[in-house]
Symmetry: C2
Subunit: 347 residues, 2 copies
Amino acid sequence: MARATIADVAKLAGVSQATVSRALRGVDKVTPATRAKVERAADRLNFTLSKNASSLASGKTMRVILLCSGKLNEWFNANVLQGVYEVLGPEGYDVSPSFIVDKKESERYFAQLPKNRNADAIVISSFQLDETARAELRSTDMPTVGVNIPAASFCDAAIGIDNFDGMFKAVRLLRSLGHTRIAFLGDYIPDDMVYSTSQRTEAFLEAAEENGYDDGDAAVICADEHGVTLSKSDLAAQLVAKLLSLPNMPTAICAETDQVAIAVVKELREQRLRVPEDISVIGFDDADIAQVADLTTIRQDPLELGRNAGRKVLSLLRGTPLNPAYESQEAALVLRGTTVRLPADAR
Amino acid sequence: MARATIADVAKLAGVSQATVSRALRGVDKVTPATRAKVERAADRLNFTLSKNASSLASGKTMRVILLCSGKLNEWFNANVLQGVYEVLGPEGYDVSPSFIVDKKESERYFAQLPKNRNADAIVISSFQLDETARAELRSTDMPTVGVNIPAASFCDAAIGIDNFDGMFKAVRLLRSLGHTRIAFLGDYIPDDMVYSTSQRTEAFLEAAEENGYDDGDAAVICADEHGVTLSKSDLAAQLVAKLLSLPNMPTAICAETDQVAIAVVKELREQRLRVPEDISVIGFDDADIAQVADLTTIRQDPLELGRNAGRKVLSLLRGTPLNPAYESQEAALVLRGTTVRLPADAR
DNA sequence: TTGTACGCGTTATCAT
DNA sequence: ATGATAACGCGTACAA
């Protein structure tokens, strides 16, 4: 059967196309009686408005892009997507997720992006854009909201986790537990795409200094530069090797993420080091796996981040004021079984 | 700056709109020289084709819907999405994910769905549709591909995991390990939305029978009916209580999913039952958490499922033959630390 | 409150 | 190979 158009409905209902349009969208003034007639006709013809045609006529696409810096099946991204969708979906928006993994793709993406009016807004999750990309973005009229992006300047609004707050809490915990030598363990960070994790490294150093740790007592251990992505276990092996060859072996470590923390715990135990008796470990994120691994960690809530981003998109789109345009989510320490007070004999 | 239209490009390049359209899409015959001219003009004007206008004119929306039965941040759904996106994205399609959690929503969704031509295809993941929904779906001209749906009849193509193969492998493993009394543990299954897990229950019973287990030696334990979703630990507590009050306590169990398995293992250990020495546990899915928990499980690969679904969508959309329209993915047993051969003294 | 008529930016058909 | 022009299906001033 050929799809019914608004004209068919108008004819069947005995009104004009304009009236059908108004009745079906429920915005403009239409007599209840007329509306009923129209709805009955639409129902009989199995008709709903075409999003495409509406978009073309109105200039609103009712679509928002979610651009992620990693795959959509990663814990963080999947949660942000769910959050964004939860608030934008019911409002009639489609959200089309997409992701970029390397710099080349990024360039291509942004070179294409701003030219065509294919979305009403864009939310950018977890990565840094270079000047070119920012310029392209700015040249669009699309409202932009950032999620967990270091420099929020090029966004109309942004929401992120407070990595500094988180790392400070982690370091303070370790100090409270009596650990005098601590370390931060992370992957190699290419400088062309800056992630949240690089902030964590910085934050660790600041927190250590502020809490009275000397340079020698707060080490940062990063993986060597590598082209392809290391498996977490290979990464952990490398990090633990570096850790164990330190002049003064730390008694506690903070890892860049839960994934890294868990792999490191495993590797440490394979080396017959007891966690937490010999060494305490703190992760970052509180992803599903953290609970299973009984890992002490810093919680961030990407689902709520996504919802908040969705709300900000809505405000931007509707011109309602966004009470704080820029927000950061407080981090929460989650105490589990991989941290313990340093035994007296070990101090 | 006002957005440039195809007319502006045509004027600047000194050709007709039609030629610009042809040149930019790269499909029809256009002289290389003309194409170059057009591309230069488009570039200068910062122009790309509007997806909306193209869609309206061509009837192709270049959009495919992904409809999931649970939230998008669930392991399975997130992976399917990633897979679908990986193959459809590079072909120029947007994929708009959406999800439905209860029956009411489902009805509303399908009542709206087929009427407007807002997507070129739909992929439906992980749930059963009732007759009404199927009819609505059929009344659309949209190609439909199913992912992990029990009855594939209403789809043009489908791909799923082979739950039967998986459960048979699990049961055979337990038999090989010498377990003579086994059980299946699962949540309460409302009958209005049938999930993959109900298949697993069936499969367990069949596999048990075929492998020589009596009725008394192969128990199925399900949670009591409940309105709200139980937390996994509450569920596990209930299941373990039922398990421990069985006349003949099994020495091995299969759980509906990894999540349930892990919660059950935890509960068992809290009851001072050793896993696997006292009781073996097998999960289902091989999600991230399974590895962390060192859980023996049946692997399914939703990422590959999604990719395959994406390929089928492409075939359907292009009219190329889909070599098998219906496929099922073999399940693979992953041996880890929660299963062990039944000690001789326990037999 | 309702109807008329034009425009949204492209594709597709038919000439040339 | 290229150009003119009619759809595509709806939103929206403006008029009634």
